[in-house]
Amino acid sequence: MSASPSSLDELIDALRCLPGVGPKSAQRMAYHLLQRDQRGAARLARAMSSALEVLRHCERCNTFTEDTVCQRCANPRRDPSQLCVVEMPADLAMIEQTQSYNGLYYVLMGRLSPLDGVGPRELKLDKLLARAGDGSVREVILATNFTNEGEATAHTLASLLGARGLTVSRLSRGVPVGGELEHTDIGTIAQALVERRSV
């Protein structure tokens, strides 16, 4: 039987919902918040409950926003004929940093992962299909990760979107910019050979 008060137990148990946090880490975090940083704890609680209340998924790109349609999707200066599909908001941020893309986005908030039971229903792929089929999108750029799961997602989307008459492209992969073959991993070089292009 546990000797600690139930609200402490509840906090420790609640912290375990974070990825990579087991019982030990959760206990350490709870003691830290309660003993050393009560202001931080209060701020965390407020931020969490306000985010839960205010944030929702953008109707068009599925990323988190406080409005029905996020600012990026509502920006008239962006090209509505291009739609770039990424797995997570962090991926979108990376592509934005390149300042090389002026189209719109769709954020899947995950990837297909058959062995983890993540399929089209869990990813809500029908929302993406509806978005890409809105009439203004001409090209869909698949920018999912180059992992097996990212590839499986890209392949699935390519066939679904291609069947709907859209031009579908995929980010290319290969030796990194400024990379020297001598210092590149052999898997990357092998795949770059498979996917070589004529010049």
């Binding site: 058959p114 089209p120 097996n148 392949h155 052999i186 092998a190």
Partner: protein, 247 residues
């Protein structure tokens, strides 16, 4: 008691990875001499980890690990090379192979012949060979190798007539229709019956899945057997594939 030992340069394939702690992975591998094993890959999820691009399924690897517990510690993993990554439909078939391996094999139970069959199946998928045939061949090898006894001969003398008609009884094997005292009427067998022609049985025993009838009947038989041995577990890869086809 399991001895703490160090394994070196072991040919292996990653079947699945799970995030573990902040920056690490638990990697389920299938290796040549040690069968299936769970390895902790410390720091493998750090941005600059050299293991990031290596610990992927469907790539032939050489691995070093040590430890005596249920989960060993991965020391090194390198790419053996010689095979492109799976893409498209082949990748989906690959997930099915891996899920069968995860659900039907036990940890630390070496199966060198199954390892060879797995390696052959993944290479065939990478070459985009006829996917259904690759899967059937692997399923037969898996059931044989795990001792689930896929009986392909019938009756007391065991001889199968190519023009004979049989039905497969799970845990027993094929039974000739006339020997069972049942009259065979086309289309009259129920959902649970597994009708097979003698030629299908002979083809399966000879690893030849080129005939259309063999493909249809063996697919049904192998699916029923695999479902039986899964004991009610649902194959997620099969469910996801089915949902994708419905979109």
């Amino acid at each position: 008691m399991a001895l703490k030992q160090r394994i070196e340069q072991q040919p292996a394939w990653v079947l699945h990875t799970l995030p573990w702690r902040e920056t690490s992975l638990i990697v389920e591998v299938f290796s040549l001499e040690h069968g299936r094993a769970a390895l902790a890959a410390k720091g493998a999820r750090r941005p600059m980890s050299a293991l990031r691009g290596v610990l992927m399924a469907f790539q032939p690897l050489l691995m070093d690990w040590s430890g005596g517990g249920e989960v060993k510690t991965l020391i090194r993993a390198e790419w053996r090379g010689g095979q492109p990554l799976l893409t498209g439909r082949a990748l989906m078939c690959g997930y099915y192979l891996n899920e069968l391996m995860l659900r039907l094999t036990a940890r630390e139970d070496p199966h060198p012949q199954l390892f060879a069959a797995y390696e052959a199946a993944v290479s065939a998928l990478a070459r985009n060979e006829h996917f259904e045939l690759v899967l059937r061949r692997f399923e037969v090898a898996l059931l044989h190798e795990l001792g689930y006894g896929l009986a392909l001969d019938a009756g007391e003398d065991g001889a199968v007539r190519p023009d004979g008609r049989y039905r497969y009884i799970i845990e027993r094997g094929p039974v000739a229709m006339d020997a069972d005292g049942l009259e065979w009427v086309d289309g009259a067998c129920g959902e649970d019956d597994l009708p097979l022609s003698g030629q299908t049985l002979l083809d399966m025993a000879a690893d030849d899945f080129s005939r259309a009838e063999t493909q249809i009947q063996s697919k049904r038989l192998l699916r029923a057997l695999i479902n039986h041995y899964l004991g009610g577990q649902v194959l997620q890869s099969r469910r996801v594939l089915k949902e994708l086809q419905e979109l």
